[in-house]
C-alpha cells in the first residue's frame, strides 16, 4: 500500500469529522446538538488546510497512489477546494435552518459531510470503480437529505422522486460502464483511453459512452434528464437544495470532466455532439421554463438547469477541435464556471433562505419591496442574481466569458452556432433574474409583510457569514478574476496542464 497521507489528508479529516459528529450526536443532549454543526464546520475548515499545504507546500505536483487509482494533482485540488468551500458555506447556511425546526441535526451534518467526502473521492478517482463509488457516496446521503423535512409531503415527494430517478440513472450509468469496461478490458481511465481510440467505430462503445454520459447528465440536470430537479429542489430543505445545485452538480461535472478528458479524449466524436445537444437543450429549455416560475426556489432550479447547460458548452468546444490547447482551455473553462457558479448560486440560495425566513414564503411575489425592510438582503440578492445573469462586474461575467472564449476558439460552424445559442440564452436568462430584482426593489411591499419581517429579527451569524463570503467572492472575482487572493492563479495553470 503506497498511501500518501499528506495527499489523503483532506479526505481523512472529513472522514474523521464524520466520526466525530457521529459520536457527538450520540453523546450530546438535545439542546447541545448544535455542537455537531460546529464540529462539521470546523472539520471542513481544517480539511482546507492540507489543501493549501498541498497546493503551495512543495508546489502542485502530481501525487499518485494505489497504483494510479487515486491521484492528487492540480485538477483535483482545485475541485476539492470547491467542494470543501462550497460544503462549508452550505453547512453555515444549514445551521439556523436545521436548528429552527425539529430536524435531526447530528444525522444531518453526518450525511452532508459524507456527501462532501464522496465528492472529494470523485475528484481524485482515476478509474471507473472509484468514480462510481464516489458518486454513490455523494448521492446516497442526498436521497435521504432531500426528504429531511419528514413531516412535509413535498419533502417526501422530493426525496422519492430523486431517489427513483437517481437509481435509474445509476443503473444506466452502470450499464454503460459495464460496456466501457467490457469493450476496453480496463477500468482505469488510462486503460480506457488507450483502448478506446480503436473502438471509435464500434456502436457498442458509443452506447457505453453515451449511457455513461447520461448517468452524469442526471447529476448535472441536463435536459432531458432534469425532470427530478425542480420538484426535488422545491421540496427538499433549502440548504440541501443549495448543496444539490452546487456540490452535487459540481460532482457530476467532475465525473464528466474525468470521463471526457481523462478517459475518452480520443473519442471526442462520440461525446462531443451529444453534449452539444444536451448543452443547447439545457440552456434553452431551462431558461424558457424558468421564465414562468413564481416560486423562487423552483426558478433557481430551472436556472440551475440552464447554468448546467452553459457549463456543458465547453465540452462541445473541446470536441470540436483536436488542438490540445483548445481542449485544455475548454476544461479550464468548465472548472472556472463551476467555481464561480458555486459561489454565486450558493449566495443566491443563502438569500433565498434568509428571504424565506424574513417573509415566510418562497413565492417571488411575496418578496415585493424587500429592500424597504431588508435592504442588505435585497442588495445581496440583486448581486447574486445578476451575477448569475452574467452582468459585469460581478463574477458571473467571467464564467460566461470563459465559456464563450472556449466555444469560439475552435471556430467551426457547429461550435459557433452553439455560441450564438448561448448568447441568446444569456439574454433570456436576464429576464427572470431581473424579475426577482425587480420584485425586491421596485414593487410595493404587500400588506402585512413588514410586520412579519420585524417579527423574525435579524439574520443568524452563520448565514451572514456564508452570504458575506459569497458576496466578497462574487465582487472580487468579478473585478479581478483569477487574481482573487492570488491563490488560484497557479492552480489554474495546473488545471490547464494537468489534463
Amino acid at each position: 500500500m503506497d498511501l500518501d497521507y499528506h495527499a489523503l489528508a483532506p479526505e481523512l479529516v472529513v472522514a474523521a469529522t464524520i466520526l466525530v459528529v457521529l459520536t457527538l450526536d450520540v453523546v450530546l443532549s438535545r439542546p447541545r446538538k448544535y455542537w455537531t454543526a460546529f464540529a462539521g464546520v470546523l472539520g471542513l475548515a481544517v480539511a482546507a488546510v492540507p489543501l493549501l499545504t498541498l497546493a503551495f507546500g512543495d508546489g502542485p505536483e502530481t501525487r499518485s497512489m494505489l497504483g494510479g487509482a487515486y491521484v492528487v494533482d492540480g485538477f483535483s485540488l482545485v475541485l476539492k477546494a470547491v467542494f470543501i468551500v462550497g460544503g462549508y458555506l452550505v453547512l453555515l447556511m444549514s445551521v439556523s435552518y436545521i436548528e429552527s425546526d425539529r430536524y435531526y441535526q447530528g444525522e444531518y451534518y453526518l450525511l452532508m459531510l459524507t456527501s462532501i467526502l464522496g465528492s472529494l473521492v470523485m475528484a481524485s478517482s482515476r478509474d471507473l470503480i472509484t468514480l462510481f463509488v464516489g458518486l454513490e457516496l455523494v448521492t446516497g446521503p442526498l436521497f435521504l437529505l432531500a426528504g429531511w423535512r419528514k413531516g412535509s409531503a413535498k419533502s417526501n415527494e422530493a426525496s422519492l422522486k430523486f431517489f427513483i430517478l437517481g437509481v435509474l440513472s445509476t443503473a444506466i450509468l452502470l450499464y454503460g460502464m459495464s460496456f466501457l469496461y467490457g469493450l476496453t478490458g480496463s477500468v482505469t481511465f488510462e486503460g480506457i483511453r488507450e483502448a478506446g481510440a480503436d473502438l471509435l467505430d464500434s456502436g457498442a462503445f458509443r452506447l457505453a459512452v453515451l449511457f455513461t454520459l447520461v448517468g452524469f447528465g442526471f447529476k448535472v440536470t441536463a435536459v432531458p434528464f432534469h425532470f427530478w430537479a425542480p420538484d426535488t429542489y422545491e421540496g427538499a430543505p433549502t440548504p440541501v437544495t443549495a448543496y444539490l445545485s452546487v456540490g452535487s452538480k459540481a460532482a457530476g461535472f467532475v465525473g464528466l470532466l474525468l470521463l471526457c478528458y481523462k478517459a475518452l479524449p480520443s473519442v471526442t466524436e462520440i461525446w462531443g455532439p451529444a453534449l452539444w445537444v444536451l448543452a443547447a437543450l439545457s440552456m434553452t429549455l431551462g431558461n424558457l421554463t424558468a421564465l414562468r416560475q413564481d416560486n423562487v426556489v423552483r426558478m433557481l432550479a430551472y436556472s440551475s438547469i440552464a447554468q448546467g447547460g452553459f457549463i456543458l458548452v465547453p465540452f462541445a468546444a473541446a470536441a470540436a477541435s483536436n488542438d490540445a490547447a483548445v481542449i485544455q482551455e475548454a476544461a479550464s473553462a468548465t472548472i472556472v464556471y463551476v467555481i464561480i457558479y458555486a459561489f454565486m448560486n450558493l449566495g443566491a440560495f443563502g438569500v433565498v433562505i434568509a428571504g424565506a425566513r424574513r417573509t415566510g414564503s418562497t413565492m417571488i411575489d411575496d418578496w415585493a419591496g424587500m429592500w424597504r425592510y431588508a435592504p442588505r438582503l435585497a442588495v445581496l440578492g440583486a448581486m447574486f442574481f445578476f451575477s448569475l445573469a452574467g452582468i459585469p462586474p460581478l463574477a458571473g461575467w467571467y464564467a460566461k466569458f470563459a465559456m464563450f472564449l472556449s466555444i469560439l476558439r475552435p471556430g467551426n460552424a457547429w461550435a459557433t452556432t452553439l455560441a450564438v445559442i448561448a448568447a441568446v440564452n444569456a439574454v433570456i436568462a436576464l429576464v427572470y433574474y431581473a424579475r426577482i430584482a425587480k420584485t425586491m426593489w421596485m414593487d410595493p411591499v404587500p400588506e402585512g409583510a413588514t410586520h412579519m419581517a420585524e417579527a423574525t429579527g435579524p439574520l443568524s451569524g452563520s448565514l451572514t457569514l456564508a452570504l458575506g463570503i459569497s458576496a466578497i467572492f462574487v465582487v472580487v472575482a468579478g473585478i479581478l478574476p483569477f487574481e482573487f487572493a492570488g491563490v488560484f492563479a497557479d492552480l489554474a495553470k495546473v488545471v490547464t496542464t494537468g489534463i
Binding site: 426528504g147 417526501n156 427513483i164 445509476t170 443503473a171 444506466i172 452502470l174 467490457g182
Partner: protein
C-alpha cells in the same frame, strides 16, 4: 459459450427492468425493477471479466461493489418509502403530484 449470449441476456434483463421501472405503480415494485437492471449490469461485468480473463479480476470486484451499493440503495429506498408511507398511508408513487405545476 460465447460472450454474446451473456450480453444479450443482460440486455434482455435490463430492458425488462426498464419496463418494470416505467410501468409499475408501487414504489417497492419499482425498486425491484431497478434490481433487475443492476443484475443485468452484473451479468455484463462478469461476462466481460470472463472474456478478458485477466488476473486482476476488475470485473468481479466491480460487480461486488455494485452489489454492495445496490444493497445500500435498497436500504435508502425502503427508508424513503417507509417515510412516505407514514405520511400518506400509500405506497403508490403516482399519487405524488403535489408539485405538478
Amino acid at each position: 459459450m460465447v460472450l454474446t449470449q451473456f450480453l444479450i441476456l443482460g440486455a434482455l434483463l435490463f430492458s425488462i427492468g426498464v419496463y418494470g421501472l416505467l410501468s409499475r405503480r408501487n414504489a417497492v415494485t419499482v425498486l425491484l425493477a431497478v434490481e433487475l437492471m443492476l443484475a443485468a449490469v452484473n451479468i455484463n461485468l462478469i461476462a466481460f471479466e470472463a472474456f478478458w480473463n485477466t488476473a486482476a479480476a476488475h470485473g468481479q470486484i466491480f460487480a461486488i461493489f455494485v452489489i454492495t451499493i445496490a444493497a445500500a440503495e435498497v436500504g435508502i429506498g425502503l427508508a424513503i418509502i417507509l417515510m412516505v408511507f407514514r405520511n400518506r398511508a400509500s405506497g403508490n408513487i403516482d399519487e405524488l403530484d403535489l408539485m405538478r405545476w
